[in-house]
Amino acid sequence: MKKLFHAVGLIPEKCIGCTKCLMNCPVEAIRVKNGKAVIYNEKCIDCGECIKVCPYGAHVAIRNSLEDITRYKKKIVIPSVTLYSQFGKQVEPAAINEALLKLGFDEVFDITFACDIASEILKKDIEKAEKPAISTLCPTVIRLVETEYPSLVNHLVKMLTPIEISALLTREKYQSQGYKNEEIGIFFLTPCPSWVTKISEISRNENIRINGAISISDIYPKLLKHIKSKNNESNSHISKTGLLWAYSGGQCEAIGVENSISVDGIKNVIKVLSDVENGRLDDIDYIEVLACPNGCAGGLLLVENPYNAERITKSIIDKLDFTYQIHDFSHIESKLVSDEGKKEVKYKVPVDFESAVKMIKSMNNIINILPGTDCGLCGSPSCKAFAEDVVKGLASIEDCKFISSGGFKNEG
């Protein structure tokens, strides 16, 4: 069993044991134990809601620092497409890429090229998945499907994401130039913590290994110092269709799939996945599903407001007149099949049916004596979750302040 790594972590010294994260975690993965928050790794989907709501800065996104790139002879950066929306509409992508080189990178890989390849592959893959096909760009969505909606695993498209495609092409290029694998350092500029987790997962695959993830918000001030050109004529050679991947709905537009919907924001995502499970959305071809508000543009590690970021991206797209013409991608396609959908459904209850039934019966008995106020003082997010915790041995019934102070008075 591989150890689960999560990019969302906790600094215990900063946590005062309030119930903010507890109550806002969309998958009830947090408990408060002995006055400190605890994240249950097997439930956490890396959405970062706890980081957003924590008033004390106790929840953090683990990531690499810029210094980490010095360990490699050849340093390549793959920027998320969202990077180009962070500096206003006057700063064009070429200027941002130039600034990246000044920070010590040898090459800025053009991720919009990988986006255009991904779009072509996606057009075919949508046909292969169960209807409605569900996008796999967002690692949080994949994890949510695997843990909470295992019956929908066959709906996930199997394409690799533009980030993985970029890594594959970059590593191949430098290997063919004679660089050893350990000399090549590929870093992703990430808009969110969930990609930090994903990168640690995919690093097990030699072909698509990415050596680290650097937060866009971390290098933002450094980039600002180096960005020069303003109001120049556009000489950015990046793809307008590739840039579409930066915000919610852009992916559907890029691949031109009409019978589709785009959903963003973790609560909306949960609602839509439930509807898919109930068979309500069977007549839709493709659902673009992104956990952050307005998609990747709403990533936690970005600086610009997600909706303004969309406006800026559109304005940059308007000035571009270039798209990669991807006609034949068969030579790389064989390497680009993701193992995402091939995984066995992980969700298994570690007990046999009879004991599971017993467990639920004792849970129901406990629920009946709880106040039902979901106050969170016990350290579980709801009375129902608390009952489950008690039955599973993760909490004691005395942790309920209501029970320990005597319970209901008999009103006769």
């Binding site: 439930s274 068979g279 969700y347 019966k361």
Partner: protein, 141 residues
């Protein structure tokens, strides 16, 4: 065979906002029981359609799920108006739903056929002006 566990959800007529809660609660329970995910999906579809039938067509009712060691039995019972011609109601595309319900994407006349398709055994009885009762069985293996 011994019934191991049962749950009952009251369903209110016309409540499109909470409609769907019964099937979503049942799904959580089945996940906890470790039922195979493809089976859960079939149960979800059947239960959701039955639930929405009660919301759209009836004056209210309930859904009861009884869990046995190798199957689940779901009873969807409502207190009227009943179905005059069951054979007709079972035909795909036949619907008596209001225009408003149809505009919301419900009442496409696929409810009963979908429930039947998702289940291993399907029984329906009804009396006009009194009740409709659907009983379905889905096996876990």
């Amino acid at each position: 065979m011994e019934e191991l566990l049962s749950v009952k959800y009251d369903i209110e007529s016309g409540d499109f906002i909470r409609g769907g809660e019964a099937s979503s609660n049942l799904k959580k329970l089945l996940n906890q029981l470790g039922i195979r995910s493809d089976i859960i999906k079939r149960i979800c579809v059947a239960c959701y359609e039955a639930e929405m039938n009660i919301v759209i067509h009836s004056v209210g009712g309930y859904i009861e799920a009884k869990i046995y060691s190798d199957h689940i039995e779901i009873i969807a019972y409502d207190y009227g108006p009943g179905i005059p011609n069951i054979e007709l109601a079972m035909q795909e595309g036949y619907s008596t739903a209001s225009d408003i319900a149809r505009e919301m994407g419900f009442g496409g006349g696929m409810g009963l056929p979908n429930i039947k398709r998702s289940s291993d055994e399907f029984y329906i009885k009804s009396e006009v002006g009194k009740y409709t009762e659907i009983k379905i069985i889905i096996y876990f293996n």
